[in-house]
């Protein structure tokens, strides 16, 4: 059976202590939350940190609440908790759409929101959701707190802007009136990573689209979003024609790569199709 290589382990009892442990070890330490992204990488020996700082007991980072017209989600909130959250379900159906199709129920029990995002897999679902929602990531380090827009959170595949010695601590999602949202994913089988997926957030002013957010995953969309399609939609009359064209624009600006989940043309097709479907559903929900 695959097993990790040697590693040291420390358990943090507070965020401050975790930051202290992480910075003491320099770049060779990794925070361990639910472990469901990191431990598989360690078993494949693709990740070989020298120190694990177990932050899974930091209940101070596990919460979902509403403040200043934002949904604030602690980074250690588990997928299952977010899926159970009534306020998230009511105000941000896109989040529940996505959470229902992230991994499987057992993995969702332990995998954390922060862990998923920091793994930064190019097929990860929440990255697209948060990009569509224009959320903000809150990062803490020894020097204090900084905020980064979700669309600037990723530095590349499996890379984020969270520096060694820092922790992602919170996600802030704007709650906007007259807004509907949805997430559409195609997977080869339940629990698989996306072949492609699209999230859409529509804010309406009467029949017109006041603002739109489109997130895409697994199709090589820069920063998991589709700004050209959003721009096209802004101020336009909501409807099938606009959604279809927006889907096509999103697809044009995607850069999918063929793999065993599908060829490039299919993934590009899905970028369009799923964007259109997500917009359609977001509109119905607005």
């Amino acid at each position: 059976m695959q097993v990790p290589t040697h590693v040291e382990y420390e358990r943090a009892s507070s965020v401050d202590e975790a930051l202290e442990m992480l910075s003491r070890a320099g770049g060779e330490a990794r925070p361990l939350a639910g472990g469901h992204s990191l431990i598989p990488m360690m078993k494949l020996r693709l990740a070989q940190p020298e120190l694990l700082v177990d932050i899974s007991g930091l209940t101070e980072l596990s919460y979902i609440n509403v403040a200043d017209a934002e949904l604030r989600v602690g980074a250690l909130t588990r997928h299952a908790q977010l899926l159970d959250s009534a306020v998230a379900g009511e105000r941000l159906p896109i989040v529940h759409d996505a959470e229902r199709v992230i991994a499987d129920p057992i993995v969702r029990n332990w995998g954390t929101i922060g862990g998923s995002l920091c793994q930064a897999d190019p097929s990860e679902d929440l990255s697209a959701v948060l990009a569509a929602l224009r959320a903000t990531a809150v990062i803490r380090g020894a020097g204090g707190v900084r905020t980064v827009p979700a669309r600037e959170f990723h530095a590349g595949p499996y890379e984020t802007v969270v520096e060694p010695g820092e922790l992602l601590v919170e996600l802030r999602i704007p709650l906007t009136a007259n807004t509907g949202s949805a997430y559409e994913k195609v997977e080869r089988r339940v629990g698989d990573w996306s072949v492609a997926a699209a999230g859409a957030v529509l804010t309406l002013a009467g029949e017109l689209i006041e603002d739109a957010g489109i997130g895409l995953t697994a199709v090589g969309a820069p920063h998991f979003c589709a700004p050209e399609a959003e721009e096209f939609l802004r101020g336009r009359r909501a409807g099938e024609e606009a959604f279809t064209t927006a889907g096509q624009i999103a697809a044009e600006h995607s850069n999918p790569v063929a793999d065993q989940r599908g060829p490039e043309d299919y993934k590009r097709h899905l970028a369009a199709e799923l964007t259109t479907r997500a917009l359609r559903k977001a509109f119905e929900r607005a």
Partner: protein, 169 residues
Amino acid sequence: MQITVTVNGTEYTRDVEPRLLLIHFLRDELGLTGSHWGCDTSNCGACVVWLDRTPVKSCTALAAMASGREVATVEGLEKDGQLDPVQQGFVACHGLQCGFCTPGMMMTARWLLDHNPDPSEQEVREAISGQICRCTGYENIVRAVRWASEHGAAEHREPAQHVEAEVTA
């Protein structure tokens, strides 16, 4: 490092490597071989146990993470010589063949029934959708869980655990 884990109500203290996976701690250190591993990649669920009363794929958790916490495994399902209704349901409905996925399936089933005493067929299917069975085509697993639901599973909820220290040599 030294860890202390409560497993099925008994506290165990052991010196382990920090990298030791929880499934290996249970199987190799404690000899609780009822929980299996099948895939390495947290896809199959043969290793599902409860950690702090929540099902977890124990091939994707470190034993160190379980220190100070409670683990429940298939070996703890039978209480005072009385099989859990979930266990009875798996027998009554032929919910197992080779038996390899069964412990993990039953631990998930028990958890589901604790939270949803009367799950629909679809809810059962969703609950076990992170676990693979290669023998049953799932049909009789679903029936087994429904059987347990109809045969007093709700009355067999896990009671508060009574912790006893284990004396280790």
